[in-house]
Symmetry: C2
Subunit: 344 residues, 2 copies
């Protein structure tokens, strides 16, 4: 595989928080601290910032003296406009040889001052929303290794979280596993990946093939799902990712209380059975062995009692491990996968 | 709808043939003469060209004196490299105020001489492979008017031809119908459209919505299908197009003798029943009324006798009009649609 077909980031990271004080707007930075603390050397906060990620405050000068690989913009700017103070620290970092990594909608390349600083410092400007060049068309050729994809009836239903939690559970159980990132936060956490929804339509499944290549027979790729094959806006992304991933198994991310597509109130959601059934039907096209291997349930709006009942009922209905990954982790699903692997 | 969200070409066209002599490499030009002869004022051939499209030979100077809208590159250059002689006539046309339209892989904008000529002549350089900017995410909102999509188990199985033939049959029958182009030749024929497989993944269904907007209740949009929801490389394009088109009906393009995906010999093809069934299942997500309205069959490798038997057998099997569009046209499918419309 060509080195150009994946985004690859240099760790460790310094996280730019600026003056952001609302946790919702600093989700990316918080996700990095939660999922890859080893990659984070600190946070860069400006005066007046009330948010604290619980990692050291580090200036660009200090970061440059250590081996900091990237300044990561870990927050969304209020009103969408990037303040001047951000541009000056980004320029300072780039001039000091630290890559600047952003998931913002604007392009770093469009800022001549930053481009000049990066040139002077021999640093890279990386927009994690921009897919790599030279992606192939999907070949559909069978590959070795095991692949698990997280799917769901909707967007924003836990596909990234579940993939990260399942990867962690497999790694803890001693399995050989890699998390494969398809979205911007995931790419920052993994340090590499492909923003699958920004790829040109003809190359969706080809990008998925590049992302989860041939591997050892017992190795697991845990692939972060995107969109949904049922989504009126994003179904193309999801089906290309399903076909290109050739998953041996999928985990359905399920929200028992969600009644309609998030942001599309006129669209109802398919039942859990329909979601399972459709993914088997469509997924069989590139992997005849595909099956559901677990249900990842968001039980946050349920009482403790209802939560237990809900998970038990779903387990009875599906015959599969059903977990809330925030509360239980994904160990039960990992065990199920490893038991299958060893034929238990 | 914004004017920027579709490619729109200026007719009439002068077709650049150059020295190409092999019909296969001049498919686009031949398609234009076949499907939109009213838009074609002539062909531009260089010395030694043995191909004749049966339209007048017209020079750029003559074209400029008439009201020629676009010089259309209607052939693929041998070996992929565009000869100098082509660049000089393209520059001459642009300088004379004639748009240059190309479906070549290279970008017209990358040629400074041509860019300067276009600026001087106030002409446009249009790559029909480059999708328009500012496409929306698909909303899935129901729209008025009737939409028919051509689909199939594979690429290159007659989806463009069938859509054009069905559009022609409906127009002849007095119906109000528009052909909606999703690929480069189709866009040149229609004079507008969106190259759906070049759109960024997140916007596939949104592009399809822009392409076939709200219309009069009895108006038909006949939408050119792309790829296949069963294709290991192009399924994402096809599902996004299906969901965004919200078709009331679809025509399955079928090749009874094809056994595997064209160019993917290790991939078998689903049966006609599977193709019909899967499109209803998946298409219902955005249009509950979706159904198959006809089968368009490629019978070119069958004897006259086998051909009749094959079409009869398929008609019995599906209960739908089954035609070979090259031999029979699509009148039977058009009649079926109009009968349904008037409740007959």
């Amino acid at each position: 595989m060509s080195e150009t077909t994946r985004i690859r980031l240099n760790a460790p990271y310094l996280l730019l928080i600026g003056t952001e004080s609302r946790p919702t707007f600093a989700k990316t930075a918080m996700g990095l601290v939660q999922w890859c603390p080893d990659k984070v050397i600190g946070q860069l906060r400006f005066e007046g910032c009330e948010l604290d990620l619980g990692v050291p405050d580090v200036s660009v000068t200090e970061a440059a003296r250590s081996d900091c690989g990237s300044l990561v913009v870990g927050v969304a700017p209020v009103g969408g406009k990037v303040p001047d103070s951000w541009w000056s620290v980004m320029e300072q970092a780039a001039r000091a040889g630290i890559d600047v990594v952003s998931g913002l909608h604007l392009r770093l390349d469009d800022h001549p001052g930053l481009v000049a600083a990066a040139k002077a410092g021999n640093a890279r400007l990386i927009d994690v929303r921009i897919p790599p060049a030279d992606l192939p068309v999907g070949s559909g050729k069978p590959r070795s290794g095991r692949r698990i994809l997280t799917v769901g009836a909707d967007c924003a239903i836990g596909k990234k979280y579940t993939a990260l939690a399942l990867h962690r559970a497999l790694a803890r159980a001693g399995a050989d596993a890699t998390y494969r990132a398809t979205g911007q936060t995931g790419i920052m956490i993994a340090g590499e990946g492909i923003p699958i929804d920004s790829v040109v339509a003809d190359f969706i499944s080809g990008a998925a093939e590049v992302l989860s290549p041939d591997n050892q027979p017992d190795h697991f790729d845990i692939i972060e799902g995107q969109g949904s094959i049922f989504h009126p806006g994003y179904s193309g992304v999801a089906l290309g990712l399903l076909h290109g991933s050739q998953p041996d198994g999928f985990v359905v991310c399920h929200d028992p209380l969600r009644e309609s597509v998030s942001g599309w109130p006129h669209f109802g959601l398919p039942s859990l059975e329909e979601v399972m059934d459709a993914h088997v039907r469509m997924g069989q096209r590139t992997n005849a062995r595909i099956r559901c291997v677990g249900i990842s349930v968001n039980t946050s709006s349920l009482s403790t009692e209802d939560r237990a009942t809900c998970l038990k009922q779903l387990a009875r209905q599906t015959g599969l491990p059903c977990v809330d990954p925030l509360i239980d982790g994904c160990d039960a699903i990992a065990r199920h996968l490893l038991d299958e692997l060893t034929g238990r």
